[in-house]
Symmetry: D2
């Protein structure tokens, strides 16, 4: 259920309502809309209906609304500020606005190998027009024998490169125990497709201030599941979430592309939620020659941004990265779906006249 707070309610009054919720074994999240505040009730409500309804008698409370949904806070339906389907919540990341009129471009390498590699790539993508730098410090890899990322060292490299180049950064977290440290170094925290339904991880990033990019995936990448996962984050207090469509596994996976990019879900998701939605054509296809077409298609549909894997030119020659002072050959992952920097620059030239 939700409690609509009066426009002139005092902090004291709101606090009293929160305490009253606590007394009946529930908790509340305060949501600041454009014009009015709302309290979203958390916890199992069904047995406490009478007690909840009685809160209408508290000072500062305008209305108590019953809700019986799988997800609430992420929903356009329960947010009067976003009832118009053409509106999107704008998420500000160091001045970059995700969800506004201009689509946001996130670009960078799959994996961080060392300072030089990331610096060079970061400069190249920024110069080409990218708004945010991506890079992986913790890497979820199919086989335990594949390079698993530099971990905290990678975070530090990324932080340093971001500051030097002057570009916000995004990186993936895999473990609840790494969330604090990742939140310290990275502007945006990414939940990867394999972890969409890792609920404990969702709760943990929900406790951070950093915006979260939530990739669609998990055991069953339905729209309902995706939005429930966003709700898991929001209910903890973090309401800055960017949704990212990156393709779903289908019978076609592996025949001519890695996944099937699902554009049908864009409109369907925009109808249900006000959160910004971006598309990742690199993972959606697994093929660098598909990135241009899919990027154009995504922008022409009005998505709020793109996330593209970019590596340095001639990256295959750099392939013997020095990782921690040792040669690393097989660490170079996902290069088939990465654009070289020069091709990313060309792509950005094509895309610019689309917005």
């Amino acid at each position: 259920m939700t409690i609509l707070v009066k426009k002139n309610a005092t902090e004291q009054q709101i606090k009293a309502v929160m305490e009253a919720l606590g007394n009946i074994g529930l908790a509340g999240s305060l949501v600041q809309g454009e014009t009015q505040k709302m309290i979203w009730i958390r916890g199992e409500e069904t047995t406490k209906m009478d007690a909840i309804k009685a809160l209408v008698n508290y000072e500062g409370v305008e209305k108590v609304n019953p809700v019986n949904e799988y997800y609430k806070i992420v929903s356009r339906k329960f947010n009067p500020d976003y009832s118009d389907v053409s509106t999107t919540k704008i998420i500000d990341v160091q001045g970059v606005k995700i969800g506004g009129s201009k689509p946001v471009i996130i670009a960078g390498p799959c994996t961080i190998f060392n300072y030089d590699q990331l610096l060079e790539t970061a400069k190249a993508v920024k110069e080409a027009g990218a708004d945010i730098l991506r890079g992986g410090a913790y890497k979820p890899r199919t086989s335990p024998y594949s390079f698993q990322g530099l971990g905290e060292e990678g975070l530090k490299i990324m932080y340093k490169v971001g500051k030097e180049v002057g570009i916000p950064i995004i990186t993936e977290v895999l473990d609840t125990r790494d969330v604090d440290i990742a939140a310290k170094y990275s502007d945006i925290l990414q939940i990867g497709a394999r972890n969409m339904q890792n609920f404990e991880l969702l709760k943990e990033v929900g406790k951070q201030q950093n915006p979260v990019l939530l990739k669609r995936g998990g055991l069953e990448p339905t729209l309902e599941n995706w939005l429930c996962c966003a709700e898991y984050i929001m209910i903890e207090g973090n309401q800055n979430i960017i949704l990212c469509e990156r393709g779903i596994p289908t019978r076609m996976s592996g025949e001519y592309s890695r996944n099937t990019l699902d554009f049908n879900i864009i409109k369907a998701a925009q109808e249900k939620t006000y959160l910004p939605i971006i598309v990742d054509p690199s993972h959606a296809s697994g093929r660098r020659d598909m990135i241009e077409g899919l990027s154009k298609a995504a922008l022409s549909m009005g998505v709020n941004g793109l996330m593209i894997e970019v590596m340095r030119d001639n990256e295959e020659q750099h392939i013997k990265y020095t990782v921690n002072g040792e040669n690393e050959i097989t660490g170079f992952c996902d290069y088939k779906q990465s654009l070289e920097a020069a091709d990313f620059k060309k792509l950005m030239g094509c895309l610019k006249n689309m917005y």
Copy 2:
């Protein structure tokens, strides 16, 4: 295998090669490229290799090329005229060029109910800028209790309307026994998704002169299966095929859209074949509110056209169609994925500045 014919080869010489093929239990299809002719050998070749290779000694033969593929004629690889991936075969339908620089718009109702309905819709879509009129006379319906179409009477209505309005027409065939009559009335023959691997039907439309629109579908809508089905048509002599992507069933089907539109296959198909490819956003989504976004996405990727279901304005009020002089209520199918004529006109306005 293929036999490359010399540029100056005479008809007599070609006929002699054909007869020689017949003598060894094979047949040949003559393909006219831009600059040179080729004979595609049909039938089981593996046991006749020596005899085939010996054909190089016939006058007028330049070269005999071995092939060991699931499909050959549809393949860019075996067509020197289309080795450049940016080239597409242009198929001319009464002056409308499918595969050229301008995308072709096919529009019209799911089902033909009567002359007035089709005439009114045809006028509306033509005025809005559609190039070709679609309409169903034979309808594949999930339940035998649903209206199965007007059959031959529908064909005649469609033919008449096409002539009056001055627009080429396309209609689906379901049965080998109806192909002749449909070919007589309709400019283009359509193979629907359920019949993609109805091989006998493919062979039958392959014997006609009419261009064929081949929807992707069947038991396993892989790229290889799709192109093999085009090959089934081509090998019979009909090389004017338009491919149509209309979405695939996935785990998501039914949650927020009818199918999952697969844009990844566009680039992959263009790489393998020179045939024009169009997209059907109506069946791909099953939702009229998704048609605009998906249409824009498709055109921005460079597809050769769109196929969109359009009904008259306020069609729900016309719903008690007079079918064969009787009222028909449930015959009105797929209206959830059809645009009303006025909305189609608006859509065409949006799309026009994309090409």
Copy 3:
């Protein structure tokens, strides 16, 4: 809707009801239950409700039941004789009872190549305990360059072998134009997975007397679609249908098996329909080493039979079949999912103590 006929209704009375149906633009199929007859109304009923209801006044009519379903005749719900979920319709094929207490084993080669091959295989499977001989005369093949079957000649070989060995036969039909001739030679007509939703073909086999084996497949192999396809056959008058589960395409297809055998549908189908259901472990897996395990699993669940591909011992050595007097190498299809005769005999030994 359905019309329940009184137990003592005369043929004349029933004929009068049928004529009345015809007068209002509908048709009826007479279904003989164990104890009572029923007339299933065919055609678009919704606009004729009053006229249909008025039929209750005809002599011999006990009741008029409204129905608003995708399928009716195949449904347990509308068949009082089969309202008990443990009952199954028994279909008699030359004395072999499909749907009774003993599961029925259908075995034989994928493709008929010649008389000797089929005779030898038929003798082997009969000796091992098979009840019915399978064999393909019309073959749906992915590529047009693969051997497409012997056609009518294959039917004749099969007919002859069936008579000589004393075993009923089943063969697949692909084309409406071949149904008459196939029905003349074969005891059971098979609709393959690619043609499940080939509605014109379903209607055509529905006009024959031969029992029909309907494989699950098509664009969307849902339970509803499967039963609707059975309804398409039944509504034409042929009510002897055997359902056959042969696996569905999934994301897993091709990784370790050809399809995913779906045992969940067995119970779900038995709940909805009284038709016998068999399982085809050969196509469901595409692997001969999986046939034994899947066969045991199927029988332990209480399916009404199995359909297994069996070839002669050392079939790879026979691979240069003489097809129509010429050598044939690549015609040998699907051998990876066929058991050799000796292994089939062993399998039958294992299975026999399961029933």
Copy 4:
């Protein structure tokens, strides 16, 4: 790569090899086979080939074997003790042997609500013949508004009940931070389908002594991914893993069952790995009326056990559980796929004559 240790190698010699591995930046896991020890090399090996090969010169080393696979330790191929496909590793859980000749039955409620509920259910399943008690303390739930389990309190209840009833217990873990405490209370740790590719969680349970039950699932439940996930656990030192097939999402999910139980993978997995495999018919179908049939099918195929959800009789009446002293209505999850205790007893009666 692997290092085969001589039968008479001393601990000192093995230690020296381990140290040598450490010196070249690698680590080793000692695996005790039936007759001989092996060291599995961990870490990125490709750049250190020469150094690894040189280890053959150490005392106690018999052979150094190159490996270039996604997974190694779980593979039958690299384990001479299990090269025979009919052999299975036996995992002993408090005297219950999983992988032996007798299939193991795991049964119990979806969720632990309180002591009485679990005790009553535990007694019932034990009396009916179950070998191991299941119960959820940490619950992965689609919506954050659903009851998330009792957490540590649930673990303590379960531990107590297990001891009182005299039955080993299994429970799911969701968060790396909960693994230590769960390992203290539960005999077996379960990795659920949503977390199959939660690699950090896999590593953490890999560090425990408790056997791990690894459900198939994740973003892409391929056989390769499943075995790679087992490898993630094994490589940390924990080699007691039980695989559990619980169905995969397909196009059919939701039509007549929750998932599609994939029996094809049983044989395919047994070919690749020696780990015991069990089947969970409750999650595979989501329907209690399907449990009997699927259980019989699984046992007839030779799986090593079943995992079945069982609740008390008339559980719906207990539905207002006292959770932490408060009424709980919606906490009752998955009851549609749970057998009541009396039906479980009947089922066990049916199954007993299958082994």
